[in-house]
């Protein structure tokens, strides 16, 4: 700020902004390294150009979604229902994200079905039921304590029978270092293929925007267990920036599809990399 030339002080300042946005030391050094290279190559880089370069460099690390930078939630074309399995550690916002997604697809006139495969957490089924009512879409459920794979099976069978367009399967939150629980998730995934070959088409890993570097390990372990192929970052309506997804997207090649910006039914947005990067610089403490 107030400087015209990119020098060490500007880069130190940039390091602070990136690290305090949870980008992580490694990815921050990677980004700064690239900027240093460009400064060395282009001899003189003004701070006005820095913004543009920074946006370009960070955008380059973020994987493209299939739909590019679509302005709204869209449903990829598949034979039969498009199945999304939603996974993540405890309390990140999986169930809420499903409610919001259901709303958007429903509004587009798509036929949506929810599957309550979190049969473990207290009142998880009731929570998803309330979302289903709120949005006005059907839900397939069993009792608390029943086999989540069986719920997933039922939901997909029902979706085929009713010719649904999209199925959203909720799963119980689990920490990625719990081997048994991760194996259970692999099993839930496998069972779906028996009903619909190719299902789940999408495994959406939900990351809490306030989570720090542990999100890396979450991405690694959930990908290992379920072949995650899209990300959602929640709770970006607070002061947390969610910068850790840059490194995750880069390292694992998974696109960030959605961001959560509140608890209401409308509070889901399609991810926009430039807005995301800009948010890091909005408030510097």
């Amino acid at each position: 700020v107030g400087k015209s030339k990119v020098d060490d002080e500007v880069l130190d300042n940039l390091e602070e902004v990136l690290v305090t946005s949870d980008v992580g030391v490694e990815t921050t050094l990677k980004i700064i390294g690239r900027i240093e290279e460009r400064v060395a190559r282009d001899k003189y880089v003004g701070t006005d150009e820095l913004d543009r370069i920074l946006r370009e460099e960070i955008a380059g690390l973020l994987e493209e979604t299939h739909s590019g930078e679509a302005a709204e939630v869209s449903l990829p074309e598949v034979e039969g229902p498009y199945v999304v399995m939603v996974v993540g550690v405890n309390g990140v916002g999986k169930t809420t994200t499903i409610g919001k997604l259901a709303h958007q697809f429903n509004q587009q006139g798509k036929k949506v079905i929810l599957g309550a495969a979190d049969t473990f957490r207290a009142a998880a089924i009731e929570q998803l039921e309330i979302w289903a009512e709120r949005v006005g879409v059907p839900i397939v459920k069993q009792r608390m304590g029943s086999d989540p794979a069986s719920v997933a099976f039922d939901t997909l069978s029902s979706a085929v029978g009713q010719q649904a367009d999209i199925v959203l399967i909720d799963t119980a939150g689990r920490l990625h270092n719990k081997v048994n629980l991760m194996n259970e998730l692999t099993k839930v995934r496998r069972v779906m293929q028996k009903v619909i070959p190719g299902a789940p088409h999408e495994v959406l890993l939900v990351l809490d925007g306030s989570t720090g570097q542990n999100a890396f390990e979450q991405a690694r372990q959930f990908t290992r267990a379920t072949e995650v192929n899209s990300l959602a970052v929640t709770k970006l309506d607070g002061t947390a920036k969610g910068g850790v997804v840059i490194g995750i997207s880069d390292q694992f090649g998974i696109p960030v599809k959605y961001i959560g910006v509140g608890e209401g039914v409308e509070d889901l947005q399609v991810f926009n990399k430039y807005e995301f990067v800009d948010s890091f610089f909005k408030r510097q403490s």
Binding site: T20, G24, V92, I130, S210, T239, E263
Partner: protein, 284 residues
């Protein structure tokens, strides 16, 4: 962490590389950027000029200084919760999904089984879908009654009614579960401060996810500014997060970390051990 080689005295030169590594380790563990910087400077000052004991290499000494400093920072006397008052009132606060409802159950279970108390859980989250049902399921699991009223939409009124209900029914502890809220949500922050004013809790706990990153300082400070809470609960430590948020929070609000959550089950509660936490943060 790499350690310094060589022996003799710790000097400016041989300490520089290592403090850089320490700072990196702290940042990787999610310790806040500014706090990590301050901390490494303190360690550097303490270390320089110290004579290396015969049994310790300079690197080992530095590692020891770091560990001791961290432990001291997070430590202080282990304090329990304030159970004075009839009934004693405990208020939960924190961000969405941090683990308040689960911890309310764990604490009730702990006070019932370990301290022979007769607790009442009070459901004041009127917003999250099925939050009240969730607390009822938790209460049933541990055999602790839950006060709720789905007709009432005002959490302040609910909290007051809950305390009154406890008095009438001979409960000596009341645990109030509240909705998750963001520190930037003024209306919701005012609401929880109104709950506090209405029921004067002897103990206000700030429940925070151990996986939290750099934002931990902002949130802890903002909640403390509004509530002046008494202690911190660090949840989800059964994961593999380093948990540097513990240092950030302790540095910024200087309130004791009283409990940790180590699982989803009602028994998964423990008191906080600063030295174990220091090891964990340093990856030792």
């Amino acid at each position: 962490m790499h350690v310094l080689r060589g022996h003799g005295q710790i000097t400016e030169i041989n300490v520089a590389e290592t403090t850089k590594e320490i700072r990196r380790a702290l940042l990787d563990a999610d310790v806040n950027f500014k706090i990590a910087k301050e901390f490494t400077n303190t360690v550097k000052e303490k270390a320089i000029g110290q004579n290396v004991l015969t049994t310790l290499q300079p690197g080992q000494l530095l590692t020891k200084i770091v560990k001791d400093e961290l432990t001291q920072l997070m430590g202080g006397e282990a304090e329990g919760v304030d159970l004075q008052g009839s009934p004693a009132v405990i208020l939960m606060s924190g961000l969405q999904g941090s683990g308040k409802t689960t911890f309310s159950g764990k604490l009730a279970n702990f006070l019932k089984s370990k301290k022979t108390k007769n607790p009442l859980l009070v459901a004041c989250d009127v917003y999250r879908p099925a939050a009240i049902d969730q607390l009822h399921v938790v209460g049933d699991q541990i055999g602790v009654p839950v006060f709720s009223d789905k007709e009432v939409k005002d959490p302040v009124q609910l909290a007051k009614a809950g305390v009154a209900h406890a008095k009438q029914n001979g409960h000596n502890v009341v645990i109030i579960d509240t909705a998750g809220r963001l520190a930037v949500d003024e209306q919701m922050m005012t609401e929880i401060s109104n709950i506090r004013d209405a029921v004067s809790p002897g103990e206000i706990l700030f429940v925070v996810d151990a996986m939290t990153g750099q934002d931990a300082v902002n949130t802890a400070k903002a909640f403390n500014d509004v509530l002046d809470f008494d202690g911190v609960v660090l949840t989800k430590l059964d994961g593999d997060t380093r948990g540097g948020a513990a240092i950030s929070i302790k540095s910024v609000v200087d309130k004791p970390i009283k409990f940790i959550g180590t699982g989803e089950k009602m028994e998964a509660i423990d008191v906080f051990h600063p030295s174990r936490m220091a090891d964990r943060i340093l990856g030792m």
